[in-house]
């Protein structure tokens, strides 16, 4: 298979199909242009809808609001760091949707994997807190990734071996995970000294994962970027990655080729869940220092959005997560300056999500097409 064909096959699996693959260079060019122009148009349309909502309902000048959002997200070095800190868990949780999406599965249990990963990491960290910091940190990371990975792999196994719809089961698992977190945090793992907000015991300052040198952003960002690049290389250059693409493109072909589909389903779901579990671990080990209900603040749900906006492409996840991290970072400024409810940024995210999905229909129709292609 030539490299050019690989590019053409890059498109997401059948369920989220894009423009049909074409062979000529001109059509390739058109496809690339479309992939930039369609999302750009969709973002613009979202901004217009959100602006109208602000102007009509809240009586706020939309241009002023957007200027403030830019300032709150990317205006200063301080806001950049805030944005990147919020982008880190989004990158990792987005992989929880993006990896299984390669096989045509729609997994939306990111929040549950994150929450359980965080609780497992905190429990493991407290259990071995007497060891050297590096050992504690590694134990936490392994525990968190294992918890998240097994959780989502369970949803994948149900899909594969019982035919249970993975979208609904993974979401149900999220609610179960949050109930489990509440049970552990208020029961067996509770620190008796945490009165107002039940929490686990602290993992200890010395065991915290610090910030990246030169900035006030924790290592979770680096983990996320490395994970995305690794997934990209895996999907592009390994046989297993190619097998996953075949399965996502056409399960029947995959079966005829004799691929062990179940193994790939478990692998993709497990790896995706592990990424979300790592996001929870980082929240505990680098931000909160302990596990409590603050783990479930919606990073997992935003991760679904990031993955869809990035069309499940691991490299595109990074800039999209930064964009959405910026939107959520600017929420505080909108609240303080314009007295908008903090849900305003959630509304904007929802609008973007819906408009981007609707814009799928424009692919192949936006730019003039040659006859017969």
């Amino acid at each position: 298979m030539s490299p050019k064909d690989q590019v053409a096959l890059e498109s997401p699996p059948a369920a989220l199909v894009t423009a049909p693959a074409s062979s000529s260079a001109r059509d390739n060019m058109r496809a690339i242009l479309e992939r930039i122009a369609v999302p750009a148009l969709a973002l613009l349309a979202s901004a217009v809808i959100f602006g109208l909502l602000l102007a009509i309902y809240a009586g706020v000048d939309p241009l002023e609001a957007f200027a403030l959002m830019y300032q709150g997200a990317f205006g200063t070095w301080f806001s950049w760091q805030n944005t990147l800190t919020r982008a880190a868990p989004l990158i990792l949780t987005a992989l929880c949707t993006a990896l299984p999406a390669r096989l045509g599965l729609v997994i939306i249990g990111n929040e549950g994997a994150l929450v359980l990963g965080g609780v497992a990491a905190a429990a493991a960290g407290v259990a071995v807190s007497a060891a050297s910091p590096l050992v504690v940190q590694l134990t936490m990371i392994v525990a968190g990734m294992l918890a998240g990975g097994l959780w989502i792999a369970f949803a994948g196994a149900l899909r594969q071996y019982r035919g249970v719809n993975e979208t609904i089961s993974s979401l149900l698992l999220t609610y179960i995970a949050i109930a489990l977190m509440n049970h552990f945090v208020e029961g067996p793992l509770r620190d008796p000294e945490s009165l107002n907000k039940p929490s686990t015991r602290a993992i200890g300052d010395i065991n915290m994962i610090g910030t990246i040198p030169g900035m006030d952003v924790h290592w979770g960002l680096a983990f996320g970027i490395v994970a995305c690049i690794a997934v990209f290389l895996f999907q592009r250059f390994t046989t297993w990655g190619f097998a996953m693409e075949v399965i996502g493109g056409n399960p029947k072909t995959a079966r005829m080729m004799g691929l062990n589909v179940g193994r790939y389903v478990l692998l993709a779901c497990g790896a995706g869940g592990a990424a979300a579990g790592l996001a929870g671990t980082v929240e505990v080990a680098a931000v909160m220092g302990r596990a409590n209900a603050s783990l479930a603040v919606g990073y997992g749900y935003s991760g679904i959005l990031v993955s869809f906006l990035a069309r499940h492409n691991p490299l595109a996840i990074i800039p999209v997560a930064v964009l959405l991290g910026g939107i959520s970072a600017s929420g505080g400024l909108l609240q303080r300056r314009l007295d908008l409810p903090d849900a305003a940024v959630v509304v904007l995210q929802g609008i973007i999500f819906v408009v981007i999905l609707a814009s799928e229909t424009l692919y192949g129709r936006l730019l003039p097409r040659r006859q017969g292609s």
Partner: protein
Amino acid sequence: MDQSGIGLWGVPLAMLAGAIRVSTPFIFVSVGECLTERSGRINLGLEGTLVMGAMSAYGTALASGSPWLGVGVAALVGLLLGALHAGICQLPRVNDIATGIGLMLFATGLAFFLGKPFIQPKAPNLGAIDLGWWSSIPQVRQALQVNYLFVLGIALAFALAWALKTTRWGLIVRLAGESVDAALAIGTHVGRVRMIATAVGGSFAGIGGAFLSLYYPGSWNEGLSSGQGLMAVALVIFARWDPVRCLWASLLFGAAGAISPALQSVGVTEGYYLFSAAPYVLTLVLMIATCSPERSLRGAPGELGAVRQKEMRQWPGSMSTRAPIPGPGTAT
């Protein structure tokens, strides 16, 4: 609540009360989703519709003083959200599952955004029918307080089952869901049928939301719905797309949801959060028990989840009826 008079009998009694009270939103959402799915469209966004319905009903009741006007507005909001979903899904190549997730996020966020001013004030509640007048035990009387919407929900389930089965209109809906080709052949406008079915299904979900904010729990806040809308969608699969079975399943779920507060009311606080996960675990277990990797589900509409490429042609990649990803046993 003082349960000393009836002791542990309080648990099944509270579960009965729960089956009546907690189940009402499930009934409305699942019957609505049932209608939508029978027309061949999936609407995963009903969770968002439920929350928007709850918010708009509460706001309307607060402003007008009439809770029933609130129910009407919630139905209208649900209708609009359903129509929006149907409109987007009718575009070629748009995936209805992903759109449902998107609209769920959007509607939930919009409800929190618009509903901010309604968190504190108290709106008038919907009344209830007192069916426990014959009993002198306060717990029994309280358990048998039946809301009008519960009765309406039951009527709706039976009415929809009847309409789908016997009326011409029901036949057209089922035809659109079973085979687009057949529907087109007899001149049915499939898009319009699905639009109406999705919009009406959305309005049912909106009414379910009105019940949440205007009767039980009876206030508006951001934690009002904890996935009832989604569980109701899962419940439709379990009920095999039959409105009356949706009703029974909703009652079962209501009872499961009431286990945790019921145990707490008789003094069992151990594992409160674990029991609170009971409805989710129950849903999952039922789905595992009823699904099968070998065959598509009995009763599933044939066109369910098909993404329209162009001209209503079927595309592999549907939700519950798609050929399952082949397992190791089937690989050749």
